[in-house]
Symmetry: C2
Amino acid sequence: MPSALILIADGTEEMEFTITYDTLVRAGVSCTSAFVSSEKRDGNEQNPPFAHGSRGINILPDTYFSPQAATPDKYDLLVIPGGAKGAETISGSSPVQHLVRRYLEDGKFVGMICAGSLAALRSNLPKQPLTSHPSVRDQLKDAFEYSEEPVVVSGKLVTSRGPGTAFPFALTLVELLCGKEKRAEVAGPMIFPKRTFA
Amino acid sequence: MPSALILIADGTEEMEFTITYDTLVRAGVSCTSAFVSSEKRDGNEQNPPFAHGSRGINILPDTYFSPQAATPDKYDLLVIPGGAKGAETISGSSPVQHLVRRYLEDGKFVGMICAGSLAALRSNLPKQPLTSHPSVRDQLKDAFEYSEEPVVVSGKLVTSRGPGTAFPFALTLVELLCGKEKRAEVAGPMIFPKRTFA
């Protein structure tokens, strides 16, 4: 069974987080959400606080982010959702930056959506096709081959634009991890309107 | 500022819940999530447990469902999300059934999505246009004018089909509460792919 580590922080865009996690679970991917703290919170690692989402939904992460427990031998996919403040915290974490590079070096998938694509910049990834939320385009357009496609697959790096592209982002991750047939099997019961993502 | 009460239970479909709540908040709607318990949990009302979503995401509701605090003089919209088990709990609650009828009698909006549409049946609403997830169609098709449109607006009752129609459902609620212009203003930064919901 493929597995995914989905990072979450205070200020994470809760639709992007939830759509990715839920859609991957529907495909049979074992998902773990890990809370990235914006400051060191000593002694709290056994009892993660909830993540306060960008629009006020409070989500209990499955675990606390620990670089040792997040290595690419343990997961097939690392996901960094958007939400300006959450993406700032996650992409600004040097252990996360280190893991992004290690996942890609080890041939594992990394997904970034919305402002989460800032993690590509902060991790010093080489120039390659990438997209993001338009609000962070200017920070990314010189360092990458900036695209406005809903989902951009560049080797093992998968990037996307915002809540409105979160379903095609998640379904692309399903297809890459589990195949085209599984993508169709998962999309069916989600009842997308005609001419959208089905 | 318009306001919405969004019900949640163990087994609620977390994408439908999150997309509706988050999109309404983006439109400036004051949202409150209220946990509907599947059994009486005495003494726990000041400290709501988290809702365990249909795909394993744990969400902390804003409050515990209380019929007295949920009356239509306090909110402009009542929302019942899907997820088979969550919808069963919510639609099976007689205080919820009573509120569904009161909201509609008082000219307030009621939104139901996916298996959440079962609440229309359990509340004995009169025969009218309605949609739902296909998995509960057979229970609804004789009691209502069953439709397969992504979103069905019948007076103040708004119904929809599944996670794949949750964005048009939420944006329709925004339009009904806040107007067409606000819908466009909210949809823009969500970056829907062309030819979908923008």
